[in-house]
């Protein structure tokens, strides 16, 4: 993701859910949404996991985030 954010590791945005967060990131860093979401789909790609304050977002774009939440976008991992 850092190649979209000029190398910045952390970005602060005002959002109440993941959908808003992605929209704001895309407005500031064009291409963000395309990186996270499949074409014309309003959901996070299945090979990307979204973690909010250490928990996994289960409702994709609708998942709520709090004022001081920390959100990570990570490769989805499968276990054995």
């Amino acid at each position: 993701m850092r190649n979209l954010t000029d190398g910045r590791e952390q970005i602060e945005v005002d959002a109440t859910n993941i959908g808003e967060l992605v929209a704001q990131l895309d407005a500031r860093f064009p291409g963000f949404r395309a990186r996270l979401c499949a074409d014309n789909e309003d959901r996070i790609r299945p090979n990307i996991a979204v973690m909010i304050d250490g928990r996994t977002a289960r409702k994709s774009m609708g998942e709520q985030v709090a004022e001081a939440s920390e959100v990570h976008f990570l490769p989805a991992i499968s276990g054995g």
Binding site: P46, M51, G54, A76, G79
Partner: protein, 757 residues
């Protein structure tokens, strides 16, 4: 009786399925017998890489007893689509092309066609009559060779994804990603000691004893019923729906008992093929792999190349680390490098870190998950470098790990913070163990002895969907239906959590793993999730039953439900001695209050709670003449959260160690120059047996998982992570020879010792 404050949790009841398992009555996939059943066999490619020019099945079809032949032409052509199958993310086009090759074969053993016949022998004979025209292509079976620009290309349409962005470069490298924090170069400058090493690990197989099997019955109404050995019946259903492009309502998957999976029984291989053959013949069709097919035609785990650099100050503080990780995906993208990269340096607090992962296609079977996928390869490299750093700095290797160990609030290299975890506690328990405190006596017959340690981490998937359905009998016993395949005693552990919640005993619960029509969607048994997540559902089900029981008792006792208390397994109404009793005593006395007492609950925990940490200690003895390594003593220490059934927790640790020892010392796919595996039998693919291992000691460190009502932490995967590194470190202490390649088999170790001499 447990000593942890619980009545059932922490005790060791006999498993519900134990008698059936030891008496041979338990039904496995190959035990299925259906009226009119046919038998299917698969024709596999003799080439590691070739174009499929044509398949002539006419002679095979003419053989008496042959009922149908299937090729990729019988499967719908599926678009490039990434699907989340609960526990695994797969490209469905690749999955389809892997079960029956389309256009090209990509490894020796790739399925090309399949026959259904009245006997296995006729099916096997028919395979020899199928004429396949191949155009052989150059092949590549090494990750570093496959990454070169002039390497043979497996997929002409595969463009490399670089740091999240698809490029125009056609390559075997499907993906390059990076995790980075801080400034590694500055961190190395700050260090007093920097060590950089390269490592290689071989392709290894999960080695489950029961081969893959599938029995399909596609009836006249278009409904497909599939009996199979799987870690996830719903995952199989999803894959059948997608690969065959049929409605989900038309598929029922019946999970049979499973003879091992370890990650390798989530993907389907035979199921879609058996289904197609059943549809074509109108008969049930049973397919089972033999051992050779399991090796060459299913999904082993990735071979890998790693380069790891780590720096520390003289007082033992790690300042920086980098890891370059290239993992073989096999024939299609999707190696476990992502998971490996998320685990490789996670036991340590490192301010400056960079991890680069590469997912690389080679002409080998599509790699699959294997117990903590990717983490064992990774730890072999990182824990060897940690050991070398500690030695160079003159610090005890466990003290070095404690000094740099992570705790709550520290960040993982991939970003998120650790919640409450047991990394430090585990390493401290190892340091104070009887094993670590005991001296290792020298051998009296000229052999060389040494002790090694290593740590490991695995994420644990504290989430996914699980469902439980229960019905209460008049005697207070409970029939409990679940959708989680029981691989390691989960029937018992999940029953125990329901029993604990209700104040019952484990034997009061009658658990059954049922088919996909009989229970709500349940994700696969994998990622160390089942005891956590399905146990979470069992607890919620118990709570629901308590609530319903209060309503029923309110009617029976003619009081308000809110006034009924449930505590320590006892329902009571104020101090009324007539209105009190246990769940078991009262469940038969609520007749006329609303029919049978039942509950169905589905849950999806939020994934929080953190991962599992382990530290292992091993004593080895090396024969300097042959390079053979014997394990003298082994202790596995692990944060297990709350040990629900300690015997099965210990068994998970011991099983993980046994597999890790095999990976460390002997197991590998040996390829010839023609791209073929030359040791595809248990005679030549050397897994350890009970004769090769001592009794593996375990120390259970219980740091309860705050995200689970009973503190459950997944335990099944992390115990395979430390063994290769711990053994490598022990070999070094014994011989003075550092091993950087797996397996550390006798010829490889003897050769390296000779070089060093």
């Amino acid at each position: 009786m447990s000593t942890n404050g619980y009545k059932v949790i922490g005790s060791r009841p006999i498993r519900h399925d134990g008698v059936d398992k030891v008496t041979g009555r338990a039904k496995y996939g190959a035990d299925v017998q259906l009226t009119g059943m046919l038998y299917g066999k698969v024709l596999r490619s003799p080439h590691p890489h070739a174009k499929l020019k044509g398949i002539d099945t006419s002679k095979a079809e003419a053989l008496p007893g042959v009922k149908a032949i299937a090729t990729a032409a019988d499967l719908p052509q599926i678009a490039d689509k990434i699907a989340d199958l609960g526990e695994a993310v797969v490209n469905l086009r690749d999955s389809s092309n892997n079960v029956l090759a389309y256009g090209k074969v990509l490894y020796r053993g790739h399925a090309v066609a399949a026959v259904a016949a009245t006997s296995r022998h006729i099916a096997a004979e028919a395979l020899e009559l199928i004429q396949v025209e191949y155009e052989p292509l150059p092949h590549v079976t090494s990750v570093l060779e496959a990454m070169k620009d002039d390497a043979p290309i497996l997929h002409e349409d595969l463009k490399m994804t670089e740091m999240g962005e698809e490029t125009d470069k056609v390559s075997n490298i499907a993906n390059h990603f990076q995790h980075k924090q801080g400034d590694p170069e500055a961190g190395f400058t700050e260090a007093d000691m920097v060590i950089e090493r390269e490592f290689e690990t071989a392709t290894v197989h999960q080695g489950y004893i029961e081969p893959h099997n599938a029995t399909a019955e596609w009836n006249e109404e278009g409904h497909l019923t599939l009996y199979t050995s799987t870690q996830g019946a719903f995952s199989v259903r999803d894959q059948l729906v997608e690969i065959l492009q049929i409605p989900v309502s038309k598929v029922t998957v019946v999970p049979m008992e499973i003879g091992g999976g370890f990650g390798g029984k989530i993907s389907v291989y035979l199921a879609p093929v058996a289904a197609v053959l059943s549809r074509k013949t109108g008969h049930p069709v049973q397919m089972t792999m033999d051992r050779d097919e399991v090796f060459i035609g299913s999904g082993p785990t990735a071979a890998s190349y790693l380069k790891i650099k780590m720096g520390a100050t003289n007082d033992g503080r790690i300042t920086a680390a980098t890891a370059y990780m290239a993992y073989e995906a096999g024939a299609y993208p999707g190696s476990p490098v992502g998971a490996g990269a998320g685990c490789i340096l996670t036991p340590y607090r490192i301010p400056n870190v960079q991890i680069d992962g590469y997912d690389v296609c080679v002409n080998k079977p599509k790699s699959n998950a294997y117990r903590a996928p990717g983490a064992t390869n990774a730890a072999f490299g990182s824990e060897t470098v940690v050991d070398e750093l500690a030695e160079a700095l003159g610090i005890d290797p466990l003290e070095f790990r404690i000094k740099n160990g992570v705790t709550e609030g520290d960040r993982r290299p991939d970003g998120p913070e650790h919640p409450r975890i047991g990394c430090i506690e585990t390493t401290e328990a190892a340091k104070s163990s009887a094993h670590y405190g005991a001296s290792l006596e020298p051998s009296s017959d000229g052999k060389l002895r040494g002790r090694g340690v290593a740590s490991g981490y695995w994420f644990n998937f504290n989430g996914g969907r699980s469902a439980i359905s229960v019905s209460v009998n008049d005697d207070g016993s409970i029939n409990m239906l679940e959708g989680s395949t029981d691989i390691g005693g989960s029937r018992a552990s999940i029953s125990m959590m329901l029993a604990e919640t209700l104040g019952l005993s484990a034997k009061d619960i009658n658990p059954r793993v049922v088919d996909t029509d009989a229970i709500g969607y349940t994700d696969a048994t994998g990622g160390s999730r089942t005891t956590f997540a399905t146990g979470y559902a069992a607890h919620a089900t118990g709570k629901a039953l308590i609530c319903e029981m209060k309503k029923r008792l309110a009617q029976a006792w003619e009081v308000s439900a809110d006034a009924i208390d449930f505590k320590d397994g006892l329902f009571s109404y104020k101090n009324d001695e007539e209105k009190r009793g246990t769940f078991k005593e009262l469940s038969g006395k609520i007749g006329g209050t609303g029919g049978p007492l039942v509950a169905q609950i589905s849950t999806q925990p939020d994934g929080s709670g953190g991962g599992a940490f382990a530290t292992h200690i091993v004593d080895v003895e090396v024969d300097p003449e042959t390079g053979k390594v014997d394990i003298l003593r082994y202790t596995a220490v692990q944060d297990v959260g709350t040990a629900i059934h300690p015997s099965y927790v210990e068994g998970q640790l011991q099983g993980g160690v046994a597999q890790g020892v095999g990976w460390a010392l002997n197991e590998e796919y040996i390829y010839n120059t023609d791209g073929g595996m030359t040791n595809s039998s248990f005679l030549d693919y050397r897994m350890p047996t009970s004769l090769d291992l001592p009794m593996i000691e375990t120390i259970l460190v219980e740091v309860p998982n705050v995200s689970h009502p009973y503190g459950v932490r997944g335990v099944g995967e992390v115990p395979i992570v430390p063994p290769p590194a711990a053994i490598a470190n022990a070999i070094y202490r014994a011989t003075g020879t550092r091993m950087y390649e797996l397996p550390m088999s006798p010829p490889r170790l003897a050769s390296q010792m000779a070089k060093n001499a």
